[in-house]
């Protein structure tokens, strides 16, 4: 694994996570080192139970590591209490979930504005930003629709706009295409790619879809709670290569 160089936005240092399931202790992550540079789009891949989702939760401050530390935007999460982490999440992290998680009683536009509301901001000052985000995700004409009046792909677009509204340091996506058909999924991935290229948005995406991973600048492979492989540059855009590596992981061969 190469050492971080350039502007690191998010880093995990020797992070471990243990779960207690009855009498059994599960090692979800074992002393993982991980970093993301500003403007980078990183995909995390791994089979079920590899710890990829756990890593995402820890990076986003949704959960705390058993050991090790996460540094997000220059702040060490282990030194912050729940409220401070919540505040950091609110202002510096954007989340995209597999099941969209929009508030069903709010319109698309209101869902996008939700983080601003939670932050107690005056929405009138952010009207332009909300409108331009809705335009960015292609839903300017659906702004008054409630989630149940939108397709899955459209709902996920709303949640991307919601994730971007606070101009977060990092966007964390948990299987964003996992609940979508391939056409809508492609649209979402294009959108994420564009926000990286055009807005310079840093993105970490967990997925087990090689096609989704191929949109990233870098693909990190996880197995049994350890980072076992990584693809950079052009290699990271090669779906077939990713698929081969992934298949190898699942069969238990760790390529060199």
């Amino acid at each position: 694994m190469s050492a971080p160089n350039g502007d690191v936005v998010l880093a995990a240092h020797q992070v471990s996570k243990l779960y207690q399931m009855g009498t059994i202790t599960v090692h979800a992550l074992r002393r993982v080192d991980f970093f993301v540079r500003r403007g980078e789009f990183v995909a995390v891949m791994g089979p079920s139970g590899s710890g990829k989702s756990t890593l995402l939760y820890l990076l986003g401050g949704l959960d705390r590591p058993t050991d090790g530390d996460i540094v997000l935007d220059g702040q060490s999460l282990s030194r912050l209490d729940d409220d401070a982490i919540t505040l950091l999440r609110r202002r510096r992290v954007g989340f995209i979930f597999q099941f969209f998680n929009l508030v069903p009683t709010l319109t698309a536009e209101e869902n996008v504005a939700l983080p601003l509301l939670i932050d107690g901001q005056d929405l009138r000052r952010h009207r332009d930003r909300i409108v331009s985000l809705l335009e960015l995700v292609g839903l300017a004409d659906r702004r008054d629709h409630k989630p149940d009046q939108l397709s899955g792909g459209q709902q996920q677009r709303v949640s991307i706009a919601r994730a971007l509204v606070m101009e977060p340091a990092i966007l964390l996506a948990d299987e964003p295409t996992g609940n979508l058909d391939s056409k809508s999924g492609t649209g979402i991935l294009d959108l994420m790619r564009r926000s990286c290229d055009e807005l310079g948005q840093t993105i970490v995406m967990v997925t087990h879809d090689p096609k989704a991973a191929s949109y990233a600048d870098r693909v990190v492979f996880l197995k049994d709670g350890r980072i076992v492989d990584e693809l950079h540059g052009d290699a990271s855009g090669d779906t077939r290569l990713i698929l081969r590596r992934f298949a190898a992981l699942e069969e238990g061969h760790v390529p060199g």
Partner: protein, 886 residues
């Protein structure tokens, strides 16, 4: 790698909402949005609070209104008078008219208006009413006032609408009120015929006054004539029944000087009159209404109790349903405090909405209650006494209970971790609150409060009612906390029965009740409260009914009651015996009298009942408090000495026993009477003393009779005898005959009226608890969506799923019913006991199976009806959707 199936695109309606942009200005606006979305549930949740607040406010307003109206009525009809002189033998009795001259000579007296006030009837009217059980009426068919035309307008308020006021030279002239004129369709110059002891008299209407001031007397059913005319017509020559006194203004406004004047006059005037303040007259009536109002307050509190439960239940449901949403809000940066605040904001809106609607409903309910009171009192209650304090109190209770009930769910919401956003369905929430120590508290509360009832004698009398009400709540709360262990005990044997009814899926469903202990416990507890109330109220009203009817049977006795608007001559008794079919006739008089218990400074106005002991025992009998009493000796003492029987009510209130003495104010001054026995008597809510007619004549100068109780020969037709009496003596409508059957019906009707409102409140409590049941079942199904999907994928049919839910609900219903049965039967006893303490009744608890059966059947039926919708929802769970995720 297969991609997930496309989510179906919901059709976008052609008329999508106008582009209003973001209509939220704060995060907490989400609360409003949520409530609006779940409007039906919001309104149903508010229902409990609405009812609780409404009842609390309505009872307050009714109490205040009744008191204020009675006070006003006496204030207004007594006009500017500051003091009042009446006969010591009670209002309406006569005294020497020379008292007026004596009063006028007293320094400080500006005017003294002599008056005769007699109950009478219109010749065409239908006289009814007598002092009897429940009869708190302060109205009579007609009141005739004889006034001094020159003095009276200085003292009383007259508002002349038509014609003129009375003149000193008037003889057969009368003023009537506009309301009476409307009723009779009479005008100035017409005549009105009234019944007098010697027949009837025609009076010319010279003026019509407004129903105001003196016109409010007897709710407007009043005829005002010159004093000499009244004295003539009602055989009271040289006599007065009251003198209203106006004093100088300085004196009227200085309570101390007024009290001095009162004492001075009392010392100077003859012993057969007494001086009082006009407002003191309403006291007896307000005392009699107390029991009823207490009952209403209690049920208002129960409504709040159940309402609080419903709020807890609904908010738990809301939090559970929105766990993922809350997790998402936490993920994107909402703090715990913001989440708790969000739920509390919802609760606050609900509290304000519910309390506001409760106030509106309470004002409406108060109108209904005041109507009932109007019926009981027989007079219009005009003022609507809404004090800011009652308003604030009811609002505070509504808001407080709502917020308190939503606190636990709000903190549960605050504990939702952001990771919940990534789950598909909510996890079963197991509250850590529900440990063994909670059962311990429940057991202590339950046993402690039960003991409190049995240790009733140890509690100081002044606190008995408060302690009683508190312990009822303690009992209910204790039982609610004990629900889980009871469920554990009851469920296994029930399982077998439900397996018979619903098959193996019935067993499965029944076992499910163990899974969300807190929620299930609260649901069962709410059902329990409903069933408890049904059974307790049913048992209590039946005991009441049986005791009152038994009392009517024995104590009142007789087959027919002969009454008259003006007192009857005693000789009528003999003439009644001559009517074919009459076996016995006994004269009875009812009158008001002031009594002093030993060591009591303040007198209490009670109802005196004068009987003729010899003939009385032919038509009725006494129900002695002490069963072993020597009846003959007691009755002989009553007949031959200065002795009386007192009611159990008075005996309890003043701690009196046989052999004690009490003082009555008679025409011959204050006299001591020995208590010869304590008897059970429900007349005038038990505020009675029973005397012999000999004493009535000797001390109160009264020979005439107000009622004859007539016994009909065995085999004779009661209706025929009644007809014969009416034909022979009822000329001119002076005499009415009521059969004991009609009398009993009248009492039952009055009783049903009093219980109707309580029954309504109970019905609402049951309705609320069944809504709680629906809510709980929906929550359970929501939590178990995956499990239901799994069962369906294993081959369970929709029908089997329905049966499973029905069985689960049946187990809750039966458990709630059984607990309610135990508590209801206990409570019925305690409530009867409480009524005895509060109202001074001497009721005995009688077990009646009907309310018990009703309670149990209702609990089971409700559990099945309430489960229908949740069961359908469960049956419709989409198998693929349910098992696909996670």
């Amino acid at each position: 790698m297969s991609l997930a199936k496309t989510r179906e695109l919901s059709p976008v309606t052609a008329t999508s909402p106008p582009r209003g942009g973001v209509r939220l200005s704060s995060f907490y606006d989400l609360a409003l949005r949520n409530m609006a979305t779940r409007l039906t549930r919001t309104l149903l949740t508010a229902l409990g609070i609405v009812i609780g607040v409404a009842v609390i406010l309505a009872v307050d307003v009714t109490n205040a209104t009744t008191l204020a109206s009675i006070r006003n009525l006496f204030d207004e009809t007594s006009g500017r008078a500051s003091l009042l002189i009446e006969s010591s033998a009670g209002a309406g009795q006569g005294f020497d008219e020379n008292v007026v001259e004596a009063v006028r000579r007293v320094e400080g007296v500006e005017a003294a208006a002599p008056m005769i006030s007699v109950r009478a009837a219109l010749a065409s009217g239908n006289p009814t009413g007598a002092l009897h059980a429940f009869d708190a009426s302060i109205s009579v068919p007609l009141r005739v006032l004889g006034v001094d035309p020159t003095v009276d307008p200085q003292v009383h308020i007259y508002r002349l609408l038509e014609g003129r006021l009375l003149l000193p030279e008037d003889r057969r002239a009368a003023l009537i009120t506009s309301s009476l004129a409307d009723d009779l369709e009479r005008h100035v110059g017409d005549e009105v015929e009234i019944v007098t002891p010697d027949g009837t008299a025609l009076l010319e209407i010279v003026g019509i006054i407004d129903k105001e001031g003196i016109g409010r007397t007897n709710d407007g059913r009043v005829v005002i004539v010159p004093l000499p005319t009244a004295q003539d017509l009602f055989l009271m020559r040289g006599q007065l029944s009251q003198v209203d006194i106006v004093v100088s203004r300085e004196m009227a406004e200085d309570p101390e000087r007024l009290e001095q004047l009162k004492a001075y006059m009392e010392a100077r005037l003859p012993r057969d009159v007494n001086v009082s303040y006009p407002a003191a007259r309403g006291k007896l009536i307000s005392q009699m209404l107390k029991t009823y109002q207490l009952g209403l307050s209690f049920f208002g509190a129960v409504a709040i109790f159940v309402g609080g439960f419903l709020i807890y239940n609904t908010f738990s449901m809301t939090v559970l349903e929105r766990t993922r949403e809350i997790g998402m809000l936490r993920s994107i940066g909402a703090t715990r405090r913001q989440i708790v605040g969000l739920i509390l904001a919802e609760s606050l809106v609900l509290a304000l909405l519910g309390s506001f609607l409760g106030v509106v409903g309470g004002l409406g309910l108060a109108r209904g209650l005041i109507q009932t009171m109007t019926g009981l009192l027989g007079t219009e209650l005009e003022t609507f006494a809404l004090s800011p304090f009652s308003l604030v109190k009811s609002l505070a209770v509504g808001v407080g209970v709502t917020l308190a009930s939503s606190l636990v769910p709000a903190f549960q919401a605050g504990r939702v971790v952001p990771l919940e956003a990534l789950r598909v369905y909510g996890r079963p929430t197991q509250s850590g609150l529900w440990g063994k120590w909670v059962h311990g508290i429940g057991a202590v509360l339950f046993i402690g409060c039960t003991l409190l009832f049995f240790a009733e004698d140890l509690i100081p009398p002044a606190f008995k009612i408060q302690v009683g009400i508190m312990s009822v709540f303690g009992l209910l709360l204790g039982a609610a906390l004990l629900v889980p262990p009871v469920l554990g005990l009851v469920e296994p044997p029930l399982r077998g029965g439900l397996a018979l009814l619903y098959g193996p899926e019935g067993q499965l469903g029944s076992r499910n009740v163990e899974r969300s202990p807190l929620r299930t416990a609260l649901t069962v507890a709410a059902l329990m409260v409903g069933v408890t109330m049904i059974i307790a109220l049913g048992e209590m009203s039946n005991s009441f009914r049986q005791d009152i009817l038994a009392w009517v049977e024995t104590a009142i006795g007789g087959d027919l009651y002969v009454r008259s608007t003006t007192p009857m001559r005693p000789e009528l008794g003999r003439r009644l015996l001559a009517v074919p079919g009459v076996e016995a006739a006994s004269p009875v008089n009812f009158f008001r009298v002031r009594m002093w218990a030993p060591d009591e400074e303040e007198p209490n106005t009670v109802v005196g009942i004068a009987i003729d002991p010899a003939s009385y025992l032919q038509v009725a009998s006494f129900k002695f408090a002490d069963q072993q009493v020597d009846v003959t000796a007691r009755v002989r003492e009553l007949a031959e000495e200065d002795a009386l029987f007192i009611s159990t009510t008075l005996a309890d209130r003043y701690d009196l026993q046989q052999g004690d003495t009490i003082v009555l104010e008679t025409r011959r001054g204050r006299r001591e009477f020995r208590v010869a026995a304590v008897i059970v008597d429900f007349t005038a809510q038990g505020n009675t003393v029973t005397l012999s007619r000999r004493a009535l004549y000797r001390y109160f100068g009264e020979r005439r009779v107000t009622t004859f109780t007539v016994d009909v020969l065995p085999g004779a037709d009661v209706e025929q005898v009644r007809q014969a009496i009416e034909d022979r003596f009822g000329k001119g409508g002076r005499i009415t005959v009521e059969s004991s059957e009609e009398f009993r019906e009248r009492i039952i009707r009055l009783m049903n009226q009093s219980f109707a409102l309580l029954n309504t409140l109970v019905a609402i409590a049951v309705l609320i608890s069944s809504f709680g049941l629906i809510n709980t079942l929906l929550m359970n199904i929501f939590e178990r969506t995956r499990e239901i999907g799994m069962l369906r994928s294993l081959g369970a049919t929709r029908g089997q799923i329905v049966k499973m839910v029905l069985a689960e609900s049946a187990t809750m219903g039966i458990t709630g019913g059984l607990l309610g049965l135990v508590l209801g039967l206990m409570l019925a006893r305690f409530m009867v006991q409480g009524l005895n303490i509060a109202g001074g009744y001497r009721l005995v608890y009688h077990f009646t199976p009907l309310p018990v059966l009703l309670g149990l059947v209702l609990a089971l039926a409700l559990s099945q009806v309430a489960a229908l919708y949740p069961a359908r929802r469960a049956a419709r769970v989409n198998v693929v959707e349910a098992i696909k995720h996670e």
